[in-house]
């Protein structure tokens, strides 16, 4: 199969998958317990007229098929409607928050990938030794800690007790006037949430890298390289890691796919104005348009990232033929 045919087939699959995801995305919310009508108009003492006004305002009485068709059309045209909560266009709100989320998720993902992979490589090379045990135990401990708890502990010690980092937000008020100071201010605010996410996720990378590396390091060509006197570092990073990359690429594709979804608990704890905290609010208020849009964008992002991974496979592994 040529690359062109492969791409076409994958695109067709992607579209089919997308339709399936969109329908599922719609049905999940329809079947979800609790309904926005209860949340929005059911919790207060309202006159019949007031209730009707609100129901009309939020369009809560449309039949399900009408909602589905409208939903499909809107998703395809990137019109996510208006948030029940804020009554602002969902697309505008997402665009407002997306840069913060990509920054937070991107920084923590890249850092955890870099540290986790290097740690995993050395842990595999020093299997059973103190470094291996320490690295794996450390990874498992931070991986097992709930992120919201870890975040609160960091806030308490580094933010409150030591006063080294801010307790909330993405910027100071007033923001520093100089561009460089502004970047510094942003990084200052970014540090604790990014550290929390980094500590949570680097362990996964380390464990995955270690296990795939252990498999590769037992291959004969590694023994052969060692016999030829190739340095250990070159063996680990040029010979072994390259052959252990495929599962990492898959994992990276999925992780990059979730880059836009945000980290719900971490963003909430650190008052980070991103997609995660947006999703949290939407869950609380049964804000269907927002949840549908976030899940839809996340699904597209994951599908695209997986598609990219399929292409990257061929680049990193010459054995892969299209």
């Amino acid at each position: 199969m040529t690359l062109q045919a492969f791409v076409l087939r994958r695109v067709a699959n992607m579209l089919l998958l997308l339709f399936f995801v969109m329908t599922l995305n719609f049905l999940i919310f329809m079947a979800a317990p609790g309904d926005p009508m209860t949340v929005i108009v059911g919790s207060r003492l309202l006159t019949v007229q007031q209730r009707e006004d609100l129901i009309e305002l939020y369009g809560l009485r449309e039949p399900i098929w009408s909602k589905y068709i409208k939903y499909l059309r809107n998703m395809l045209t990137w019109q996510f409607g208006y948030s029940y909560y804020s009554l602002r266009p969902v697309s505008a709100e997402i665009m407002e928050r997306l840069p913060n989320t990509i920054l937070l998720m991107g920084v923590s993902l890249l850092a955890s990938m870099a540290v986790g992979i290097v740690l995993g490589v050395y842990a595999a090379a020093k299997r059973g030794k103190l470094f291996d045990v320490a690295a794996i135990t450390g990874s498992l401990v931070t991986y097992a800690l709930p992120t919201f708890w870890m975040g609160l502990v960091f806030l308490f010690f580094f933010g409150y007790q030591l006063g080294l980092f801010p307790l909330a937000g993405t910027m100071s008020r007033p923001p520093p006037p100089e561009p460089l100071s502004r970047i510094g201010d942003l990084l200052w605010h970014l540090f604790l949430p990014a550290l929390t996410l980094f500590l949570y996720s680097y362990g996964g990378w380390a464990l995955l890298t270690r296990s795939t590396m252990l498999e590769v390091l037992s291959e004969e060509y590694i023994w052969s390289a060692r016999a030829k006197g190739v340095s250990e570092r070159t063996i680990l990073f040029k010979h072994a890691l390259r052959n252990a990359l495929l599962p990492l690429v898959t994992n990276a594709a999925v992780s990059f796919g979730f880059l836009v979804s945000g980290a719900i608990l971490t963003e909430q704890v650190f008052s980070w104005h991103g997609i995660g905290s947006y999703t949290w609010n939407a869950i609380q208020y049964n804000d269907y348009p927002v949840l549908q849009a976030v899940f839809y964008i996340t699904a597209i992002s994951v599908i695209l990232a997986n598609f990219a991974a399929d292409i990257v496979y061929g680049l990193v592994d010459p054995r892969v033929k299209y």
Binding site: P33, G34, I40, S43, R44, L45, L46, T47, V48, Q49, Q50, R51, D53, L54, E56, L57, Y82, S83, Y85, S86, L87, R88, P89, E93, E96, R97, N100, L152, L155, F156, G159, Y160, G163, L167, A168, G169, T170, M171, R173, P174, P175, E267, Q268, V269, F270, S271, W272, H273, S277, W280, N281
Partner: protein, 692 residues
């Protein structure tokens, strides 16, 4: 017993750290402000993070009630002040008044006697709530009737009531159903499982009922299950319910009027299925009464009837605890709301200075939608109620009292609609010194526009749906004609935020739902604060409205006399005054003029004073005619906090100058004297020389 004592001690220790709710109202409220220059609202996504921010001196006031662990921590912190308040809501024991045996009044009264409210306070609420007997709790101030029937905890009295009503005790220790002569069928009792307090109380009531022989089918279930069985299917006898209440006791009509027992859809709020003619009369009067006295009498009567018949048994109100940092004065602990009541943001100031500075206010939710027609969320109203004013405001420490605001006074008169329905004419007399934040004058036309604009739909449509027409006889009077006689219509119209006509009339009818005043730059009201800066998800910064029609009288410039000597007519002399701002800092860039007015009120001179140093302004003044004058010093100063002006009068005396001829004569005489004295001295010296 030991457990009881321990619980009592815990409850007492919590209560000791809290100011008793009864102490609320001790605050001296000034109906003007704001005293501070700005209000920073900082958004926190998590109440724990917000609590840490308060402890770390990042904010001054929290918006949300504290969690019990936070109360414990803050109790130890000398820099934090805790205030408790009764929340607007209550937990109650609901009866299905139409299902046997809870349809029997004696049965309900007997159950009421089985509720140990002391135990509820000490063991269940542990200081974070108070037991209540009244469906209009004391948090509603003068609406609450203190003289209603109460049911002390007494199982003997309960058993006696049951015996008298024919629910005799059977040989197996269970009560006999007087209707069938057989053992009473178990009473279906839904107990909320998702609320530990209500679960504990429900379980205790069940045990008490079984203790006097009432069989109980207790169904401990989650909210959704209870909601389905109780609120929708009415398949219950008893339920550990809970309701939110409004500041007006109008809710008595919604909850207890028989017409609100609507089954099936759309359902009504009277799920207790109370059908009591006497109560109907009272609740209807609450709905239609057109005078305060009439409505209050009906509200009192309704409370008496509900208590007498034990239609529902009010159990408790939660007590919330809110915190702010020490060093603030003027924080008003409002009923049902706590310290972050609207008047706090007008009155609050640092202990060390009466005016100026900034309140840093923590918000636990994001601010999303600042369209006052469509938003539903508390956090948005935290901003909107600082921006917009209403015609009346509610006294935060006595919710039954209306305070004049944009309306200085109002009258309610009967009116007959064109369709011959008796209605109400509400006349609002408005202030004439209020302006919108963009400088446009506020008039009665704005009120008329607002009422009519709200009628097209949105959050306030229900509040104005009874308005038939609005007249504006002049710029300070608005008359609303309503097709209802309800006294509370005054509150529906009076408490709505008033929006500016000149802004909203440009918003097309199709666009009002999605109009975003914040991002359009048109978030303009008459309120005490103006929008200054905001960043989505981070903060909103409001600045004090320096032109506020209820600006603090003390928040102005101070003119002090530096040097105003008695002048000599015709002679130029320096006068000086010292100007300080409301923080007592010297004003160095103000404009100061002095107008000199004589005894007849005529202006004889006007001069500008220039700044010398440290807020002292001076000028040279010469007045020709001697006499008594008044110096009117006028100072103005524009800063980031707004434009401030001050006027002060000082008396000035101008004495008569020495006449010119006399002055010459005096000089000549002086010269003669000097010459003469000199001559005499010289002569004396010479004579001394000669003699020697």
């Amino acid at each position: 017993m030991r457990k009881l004592l321990i619980s009592l001690l815990i409850a007492l220790s919590v209560l000791m750290i809290l100011e008793p709710a009864a102490a609320r109202g001790a605050e001296v409220i000034e109906w003007n402000g704001p005293r501070v220059d700005s209000l920073l609202m900082k958004i926190y996504g998590d109440p724990i993070a917000e609590g840490l921010a308060l402890a770390a001196n990042e904010i001054d006031i929290m918006d949300v009630p504290l969690m019990p662990e936070q109360v414990k921590e803050f109790k130890e912190d000398p820099d934090i002040v805790l205030k408790n308040y009764e929340e607007l809501g209550m937990a109650e024991l609901d009866f299905n008044n139409q299902m046997w045996p809870t349809s029997d009044v004696s049965f309900r009264q007997a159950v009421a006697h089985l509720i140990d409210k002391n135990w509820i306070e000490t063991d269940v609420l542990k200081g974070f709530g108070i037991s209540i007997d009244n469906p209009v709790p004391s948090v509603l101030g003068d609406w609450s009737n203190p003289n209603i029937k109460k049911y002390p905890y007494d199982s003997d009295a309960a058993a006696a009531l049951l015996d008298a009503a024919g629910f005799a005790l059977g040989p197996d220790g269970r009560r006999i159903d007087p209707k069938t002569g057989k053992t009473l069928e178990p009473v279906v009792f839904y107990i909320r499982a998702d609320d530990p307090q209500r679960t504990a109380i429900g379980e205790r009531i069940r045990k008490e009922m079984e203790g006097i022989g009432i069989p109980v089918d207790a169904r401990v279930a989650e909210r959704a299950v209870c909601s389905e069985a109780v609120l929708k299917k009415y398949e219950y006898n008893m339920y550990t319910g809970g309701v939110g209440i409004t500041s007006d006791p109008y809710y008595l009509f919604w909850f207890y009027f028989s017409g609100m027992d609507i089954y099936p859809e759309p359902y009504g709020y009277n799920y207790a299925r109370i059908h009591n003619d006497e109560l109907d009369k009272a609740t209807l009067k609450i709905r239609t009464g057109s005078t305060l006295d009439e409505v209050r009498a009906a509200v009192f009567k309704a409370q008496e009837i509900i208590a007498e018949n034990a239609h529902v048994i009010p159990l408790y109100q939660r007590i919330g605890v809110k915190a702010y940092r020490k060093g603030w004065e003027g924080v008003v602990n409002g009923a049902g709301e706590g310290i972050n009541t609207w008047i706090t943001f007008l009155n609050a100031h640092r202990e060390e200075r009466k005016y100026g500075g900034q309140i840093r206010y923590g918000l636990s939710s994001d601010i999303e939608n600042l369209n006052v027609l469509t938003t539903e969320w508390q956090s948005d109203f935290e901003v909107l109620y600082r921006i917009y004013d209403s015609l009346l405001v509610r006294n935060p420490v006595n919710l039954a009292e209306d305070i004049p605001w944009l309306a200085t006074s109002w009258t309610l008169d009967p009116w007959t609609t064109p369709t011959n329905v008796t209605g109400l004419k509400i006349t609002f007399n408005l202030v004439d010194n209020a302006t919108w934040h963009d400088g446009v004058k506020f008039t009665s036309a704005d009120v008329k526009f607002c009422i009519e604009y709200y009628q097209q739909g949105g959050r306030w449509a229900g509040y104005v749906s009874n308005v038939e027409k609005v007249d504006v006889p002049n710029s300070t009077v608005t008359i609303a004609y309503l097709n209802t006689t309800s006294y509370f219509a005054l509150h529906w119209l009076g408490y709505m935020p008033i929006i500016p006509r000149h802004i909203w009339e440009k918003v097309a009818p199709a666009d009002w739902k999605t109009y975003d005043p914040l991002r359009e730059g048109t978030l303009i009201g008459t309120g005490p604060f103006k929008i200054f800066d905001w960043k989505a998800g981070e903060y909103v910064l409001l600045e004090a409205n320096s032109e506020y029609f209820r600006r603090s009288p003390g928040k102005t410039l101070t003119i002090k006399e530096a040097s105003l000597p008695t002048l000599t007519a015709g002679e130029a002399q320096e006068i000086s005054v010292k100007i300080t701002d409301y923080t007592e800092a010297p004003v160095t860039a103000g404009t100061v003029t002095a107008s000199i007015v004589d005894a007849e009120g005529r202006q004889v001179a006007e001069i500008g004073l220039s700044h010398k140093s440290e807020g002292v302004y001076s000028a040279s003044l010469a007045i020709e005619k001697p006499g008594e004058y008044v110096v009117k010093i006028s100072a103005s100063y524009t800063s980031a906090a707004g434009t401030f002006t001050a006027l002060k009068e000082f008396p000035l005396t101008v004495k008569e100058a020495f006449p010119a001829t006399l002055r010459i004569l005096a000089i000549v005489a002086l010269i003669i004297v000097i010459v003469l004295v000199s001559y005499l001295l010289i002569r004396r010296r010479r004579s001394k020389k000669v003699s020697t």
